[in-house]
Every structure is written in structure tokens, then in C-alpha cells.
């Protein structure tokens, strides 16, 4: 049996039989699904097939007003007065129900957003449940979490979340808000509303008092109406830096509290003394996880010149083994790009990279003819002044540079308007500590990448936003003292 052995993995699609989707979803306001006053609906599609999955309501200003008023009433009449240990029970129950329906949530997440089932099953859904579990634990311990500071809830939190981790971002937003004693109006992204609406069903079934969590769907104007509503006391937004700036302008002069988690262009730095094969694995995980639709994606790779050839060779070899295709196939490593708009944007940046003279390398893999897909892509010989190095692409595109000295790489890594995350790969502990103090980034991973835990705060420097989510810091963002 010498010679070329072909061993393509047979398709192993996750079953969709247990998934229950309505044809049409209304707005979840005051504990039930209600028809939108706008009378308008819009469709959400599977980016891997183009198939229409469901229609969801498009909330207008009046709908938003209803939702905020429901949240305000629930806050004043019920939630504010409820002892922490009672709030905890509800939050805990939601966590358990997410676990019970994990398979359905994972499949819907992959259908609606395009991410591989391996990730939605092993990362998104379990982490979402963990966030609820974690914050359930804090609800009755606020006095201990912030001793001598008399923590108090804020009121109504208006929360707007992106399309890259729809369920997980909903959990990051809702869990700490409820634990701190606030009520919520949440808007998922227009391309990925389904798991948030499923979460609304779970919340309804959990018996959480009506109006404590309201989930409404719509486009940017719906989000703007939430931000501008006078009875919203706190705005939490995850999304693009551009929109983040608009929101910050909009709430200037009000006493609304705000946290913004915005874009990123993280540096992933490999030193010559690193465990190279594992570093390459970390780079792959850093940029190709969730098709690169990750605000903390390690989209700029810096390799020390003595190992640059080796690392790039290994990286190219590893990219060849990545399987791009059907998000519901258990063997898929890279799924579908979330939307046509996003794919167009990524392709535009790839063209920009080529025009800028960088050397492009793509995996030789095939991609499905239908749906929105992008091959894993590298750009070599890039420089700090290239647009593909400066701007967030939000796709599976990695820009590679080399460096010689530690001072040089620190300067280059920080020479960017963003500062959300960074990665450092070295076998030397002292180098790790040196680097972490000098990186202007909210999260610095050492010898790993894209690791998330509910107990660990997450957030940015500079134009990557402010405020933290996760851990005690994430709780503090929903309290006044």
C-alpha cells in the first residue's frame, strides 16, 4: 500500500431533526412574544446554503418604548426588591435550561451564523451556560464582592450584541446585568437573531418575572432607539468601533453608564524559543477560529526572524489540513462567512492586500460553490503601513511580519489604534512577564490563544473600547456605588 493514500473524511452532518424553528418570530416583551407595532418582519438566512430560516420582527421606536417600559416596570415592581439569593435561582435555572437544550442551540447557532458545529457545540453554548452559572453565584454576594462600597443596581440596561457569537454575547450581557439586579432590553444582530430568540423562549419557560428580560430584533435604527431611550440607564454594546463612536456621541450629556467592546487587530508574537508546533497551532486557532469573526482574533502575526521560515512553512502545512465547508459537518474546521456583506468586505481586503504588494498564500482546499465561504489566507511580507495590517478585516486573513528585537516587536504590536488582545509565545517565563506589562491590550494570552472563562475579565484599551465583561469587573459595570 505504498503511494498516495486518499482518506477524505466522509460527511458527518449533525442532525437537524430535533431543531424546532417557528416560521415567524415576534418581539419578546413583558414575558411574552408580541406582534411588532411596526408590522414589519425581515428574514434571516443560513449563510452556508442561502436558505431562509425564519422571519423576525423589526422593532421600531414604539416597540422599543414598550420594551423599555416593560423592563422599567419589572425593575421597579419586582426585580429591584427581590433578594439576591432569589435572583440567583432564576439565573441558575436559565443556565441549566441552556445545558438541557444545548444540542438544539448549537445546531441553530451554526445554521444561522455559519460557524462550525464543533465550535458552537464545544465553545459557544457551554460557555454561555457557564456565564449564567458564574453570575448566579454572585447575585447574593454583591456586598462581599465590593466590601464597604454599598453596590446598587442601575435600572434598565440596553444591550446590543454582534453577530459573531450571538448566544454567547447574549449570555455575557444578560447574566451580569441580572445578577446585579438590573432588567434588560437586548437586541441581537439582524443576521443572527435566532439563538437569542430561543433564549427568550428559555427565559419565558424559566418563570423569570415578566419584563425582566426583553429581547427585540431589528436593524441599527432599533439599536439607536434603545440607546436614545430616556429610561435606559446603562448601555452595553459589542460591535464595530465605528458604531461604538456613534453610541458614545449619542449618550454624551446623559447620565447613562456605558461599556463598549469594539474592534481589534491583535498581535500574536512568536519568539524563537517558543514551542513552535504549538505556537503554529495557536496562530491557527487565533485567526481561523469562527472564520476570523472574532474581535480578539490574532490577525497580525509577528515572528522572530530566526524561526520565520520554519514557522511559515509549518503554518502553510497546517492550513492545508483545515477543512472548509458545511458548518453542520462535525469535521468542519472553518464554516461559512456570516453574510454576503461580510464576504464582500473580506474579499475587498484580500484585493487590497494584493494591490499593496503583499505576498498572498491560500490553502489549496476546495470551498462549496453555494453559500459564503472564504479560504484561509495568509499575507507575507506585510508592513505596518499596509491597510491589511492596520484595519480590522474580521475574516480568515492573517498578516505576517518578522522582527529581530524585543523592543521592535513591542513598538510594532502597540502601533495600532486598537488594543483588545495579544498573544505571546515563548518558553521563557521572564519574557512573558516583560511582554504582558508592555502590551497595550486588555487581554494578553501567553502560550495559548482565544481562551475565555466567565471568571476572567475581557475588554479593550484605546479604540477597542472600555469597561470589562466577565469576572468581578463585569459585575461592577452593572452597579453603582
Amino acid at each position: 500500500m505504498v503511494g498516495e493514500f486518499k482518506w477524505d473524511y466522509a460527511p458527518a452532518p449533525e442532525s437537524k431533526d430535533h431543531v424546532r424553528l417557528e416560521k415567524q418570530y415576534d418581539l419578546f416583551i413583558g414575558g411574552k412574544f408580541v406582534k411588532p407595532l411596526s408590522k414589519k418582519y425581515f428574514a434571516t438566512y443560513n449563510p452556508a446554503t442561502g436558505e431562509k430560516l425564519a422571519e423576525v420582527a423589526q422593532a421600531n421606536e414604539k416597540d422599543v418604548d414598550l420594551a423599555v417600559k416593560a423592563a422599567k416596570a419589572a425593575y421597579d415592581k419586582v426585580w429591584k426588591k427581590m433578594p439576591g439569593k432569589e435572583r440567583a435561582k432564576y439565573i441558575y435555572r436559565i443556565a441549566r435550561m441552556i445545558q438541557e437544550r444545548a444540542r438544539e442551540l448549537a445546531v441553530i447557532e451554526s445554521m444561522d451564523g455559519g460557524k462550525p458545529i464543533r465550535e458552537s457545540r464545544d465553545v459557544d453554548v457551554p460557555l454561555a451556560a457557564n456565564h449564567f452559572f458564574y453570575y448566579a453565584g454572585w447575585a447574593d454576594k454583591l456586598e462581599y464582592a465590593f466590601p464597604n462600597r454599598t453596590p446598587q443596581s442601575l435600572g434598565v440596561a440596553g444591550q446590543i450584541i454582534p453577530w459573531n457569537f450571538p448566544l454567547l454575547m447574549a449570555a455575557w450581557k444578560i447574566a451580569p446585568a441580572l445578577a446585579a439586579g438590573n432588567t434588560v432590553v437586548l437586541k441581537p444582530a439582524e443576521t443572527t437573531p435566532l439563538t437569542a430568540l430561543k433564549l427568550a423562549e428559555i427565559i419565558r419557560d424559566s418563570g423569570l418575572p415578566d419584563g425582566v428580560v426583553n429581547i427585540i430584533t431589528g436593524y441599527g435604527d432599533t439599536g439607536a432607539a434603545i440607546v436614545n431611550h430616556p429610561q435606559v440607564n446603562k448601555v452595553a454594546f459589542t460591535g464595530s468601533t465605528q458604531v461604538g463612536k456613534i453610541i458614545q456621541k449619542a449618550i454624551a450629556g446623559t447620565d447613562k453608564k456605558i461599556t463598549l467592546e469594539l474592534g481589534g487587530k491583535a498581535a500574536n508574537i512568536i519568539f524563537e524559543d517558543a514551542a513552535l508546533d504549538q505556537a503554529v497551532e495557536g496562530v491557527v486557532n487565533g485567526i481561523f477560529f469562527n472564520q476570523g469573526h472574532v474581535c480578539c482574533a490574532g490577525s497580525r502575526l509577528f515572528v522572530q526572524e530566526s524561526v520565520a521560515d520554519t514557522v511559515i512553512r509549518k503554518l502553510k502545512q497546517r492550513m492545508e489540513t483545515l477543512i472548509v465547508g458545511d458548518p453542520l459537518d462535525k469535521n468542519t474546521d472553518i464554516g461559512a462567512i456570516n453574510s454576503k456583506e461580510q464576504l464582500d468586505k473580506i474579499n475587498e481586503y484580500i484585493q487590497i492586500g494584493i494591490n499593496e504588494g503583499a505576498e498572498m498564500h491560500q490553502s489549496s482546499c476546495s470551498i462549496p460553490a453555494k453559500g459564503y465561504f472564504c479560504k484561509p489566507t495568509l499575507f507575507l511580507h506585510t508592513s505596518q503601513s499596509h491597510r491589511i495590517v492596520q484595519e480590522e478585516i474580521f475574516g480568515p486573513v492573517l498578516a505576517v511580519q518578522t522582527f529581530r528585537t524585543i523592543e521592535e516587536v513591542i513598538e510594532k504590536a502597540n502601533n495600532i489604534p486598537y488594543g483588545l488582545s495579544a498573544g505571546v509565545w515563548t518558553d521563557k517565563g521572564s519574557k512573558i512577564f516583560n511582554m504582558t506589562t508592555k502590551m497595550r491590550a486588555g487581554v494578553v494570552w501567553a502560550n495559548t490563544y482565544n481562551k475565555f472563562d466567565p471568571a476572567s475579565p475581557f475588554g479593550g484599551y484605546k479604540e477597542s473600547g472600555f469597561g470589562r465583561e466577565g469576572g468581578l469587573h463585569g459585575l461592577a459595570a452593572y452597579l453603582k456605588f
Binding site: M1, K6, D8, A275, G282, N331, D427, N447
Partner: protein
């Protein structure tokens, strides 16, 4: 040539384990599974290495090696039988006319604690009796003491004694304690002329594990990229299920690629694995699981 060990990269255990976990989430079904199971069967070094081994047991095992399960059509033979030097002659007779190879452990297996002269003599005895392949053990004591040159020289000497016979070098990874050491030992063995590197004797726990095997595969890969020379890999001990074997094959496929997917370059050292593979193959063909009573224990 003695290797430049400064070229041996460090190994991050957490990273290795994460990579292995990812291999294990690959879903191997249908035709892919069938192909993988047949290949796994064809890669087995059917092994008996006990003090109480008898001629009869070796003969029975040799028959099994040639006829793993005659009621299932189109099954390959296993790759080789693996025995002590004193049983090579019996195996040679029993395997007359078959393509199944004879591997013999040598060099004072399993501890390797003996003089160089005895180790060479042990190897020559096995070869004179008809062994096709030699599975030697390295001197772990000398390795752990930092006496790498000694280890290198000993492997090179056995390789010379082997002539055309292929040499598998057992690192006994369960005694090397760190993945960094395993990488270093792999690089030394490869540089000294190993045709295969092998994890374990099967006498020490832990024997073969996927993380350890991955480190060794990466050493093989780096050597290949540097020189264009292929080296084989043999995890041995502890792999007893077909599912486990398929996971190793996924790891092999995604680390070294299709060129290594044959028993020229990859072996499983195992005694009970063959029967589980046969059980799974029978299920693929007949649609139902056999009772284990239908499969010979030879």
C-alpha cells in the same frame, strides 16, 4: 552525524494535549472508517513478549497474523509479528511463504541494561535466525544522565549490525518523564539512523499515548522537511481499541500526510488491538456485532 540538539524545539504539553483533543473530535464514518480499519489491521505488529511464551503460542500467533479473520473477505494480513530473539526461528518457520515480517526485540529488551557487546550479539542472533526487523531499546539511564553521545553511539552501532534489516528504536517514553526529553530522544534516534522510532516496550506504564506519539511525529516531520528522508513511527502498548487506532490514524494523516499511511511507515505494536479491529470490520460487513467468542484469541 550527532544531531545539533539546539535544533530540537521545546514542546508545550498543554498545546500538545489540545491538538490531540482536536484529532479526537474528527468523526470517522462509513467508507472512511472501513478504509481506516483495514489499514489499521495491516499496520499491526502482532506481539507476544512474555517470559512464558511457547513455541506453540508463537506458531498460533503467526497463523493469526496471516489469517486474521478468514470469514471476512478481502482482509489484509497484519504487518509483522513481534517476538523475542529466541522465538524468531519458530516464527520464520511458521510464516514460510508469507509477506508478514518478523520483528524481534533485542539489545537486552526491555531494560536495555547490559553491555554493548551483548546487545550487538543479541541483535545478530535475531538476524541470523531470520528476523526482518529489529526493535531495540535505548539506554534510558544514560539518556537521563545527559549522556546523549552514548545513546547515539549505541543506536548507530546496532544500526550497523542490522545491515539491511530495518531498525526500530524504542525510546520507552514512560521513563523519559517530559515531552521535551521525548523530543530530544527522538532527534537522537533519528540522527543515529533509526528507520522507525517507537514509543514503548509495553512493560512500563504509561506506554503509548497520543500526546507522546504526536511529539515523535513532529520530530519525524521536521527531519523530513529538513532532509527529505522519511522515518517510520510505531506507537506500542496501550492501544487496544479500533476507535483508538482510528484516532492515531487521523493524527498521522493530519501531521505527516498520506505518504505515511502504510505499514512501510507506521505500525501499531499491539496484541489485543487486532481482535477489536476485526470485530468492528465484521460489524461493517454484516451489520451486527459478533460475540467475541467468534474471534480467535491467538
Amino acid at each position: 552525524m550527532y544531531p545539533d540538539l539546539s535544533n530540537s524545539p521545546v514542546v508545550d504539553q498543554v498545546g500538545i494535549e489540545e491538538r490531540v483533543a482536536r484529532f479526537n473530535t474528527r468523526s470517522i464514518k462509513k467508507e472512511t472508517k472501513l478504509q481506516g480499519l483495514k489499514l489499521a489491521l495491516n499496520m499491526i505488529d502482532l506481539t507476544t513478549l512474555e517470559g512464558k511464551d511457547t513455541e506453540g503460542k508463537v506458531e498460533q500467533m503467526c497463523y493469526k497474523a496471516m489469517h486474521p479473520a478468514d470469514d471476512i473477505p478481502g482482509l489484509p494480513t497484519v504487518a509483522a509479528v513481534c517476538v523475542y530473539p529466541t522465538h524468531v526461528k519458530t516464527a520464520r518457520r511458521a510464516l514460510q511463504g508469507s509477506s508478514v515480517k518478523i520483528a524481534s526485540v533485542s539489545t537486552a529488551f526491555p531494560s536495555g541494561n547490559s553491555t554493548s557487546d551483548i546487545k550487538i550479539a543479541d541483535t545478530k542472533f535475531a538476524l541470523d535466525n531470520g528476523a526482518d526487523e529489529i526493535d531495540m531499546v535505548i539506554s534510558r539511564g544514560e539518556f537521563l544522565r545527559g549522556n546523549y553521545h552514548f545513546v547515539y553511539d549505541e543506536i548507530a552501532a546496532v544500526k550497523e549490525a542490522c545491515g539491511k534489516a530495518r531498525l526500530k528504536v524504542i525510546l520507552e517514553t514512560g521513563e523519559l518523564s517530559t515531552l521535551d526529553n521525548i523530543r530530544k530522544a527522538s532527534d537522537i534516534a533519528i540522527a543515529a539512523g533509526a528507520d522507525f522510532i517507537k514509543t514503548s516496550t509495553g512493560k512500563i506504564q504509561p506506554a503509548a499515548t497520543m500526546p507522546v506519539t504526536l511529539v515523535m511525529l513532529q520530530a519525524i516531520k521536521d527531519h523530513y522537511d529538513r532532509t527529505g528522508i522519511m522515518v517510520g513511527m510505531k506507537p506500542a502498548g496501550g492501544i487496544s481499541t479500533a476507535k483508538g487506532a482510528l484516532q492515531y490514524l487521523v493524527m498521522l494523516y493530519e501531521t505527516l500526510g498520506p505518504k505515511w499511511m502504510s505499514n512501510e511507515w507506521f505500525r501499531f505494536g499491539a496484541s489485543s488491538l487486532a481482535n477489536d479491529v476485526i470485530l468492528q470490520l465484521a460489524k461493517e460487513y454484516k451489520g451486527v456485532y459478533y460475540s467475541k467468542d467468534y474471534i480467535s484469541n491467538d
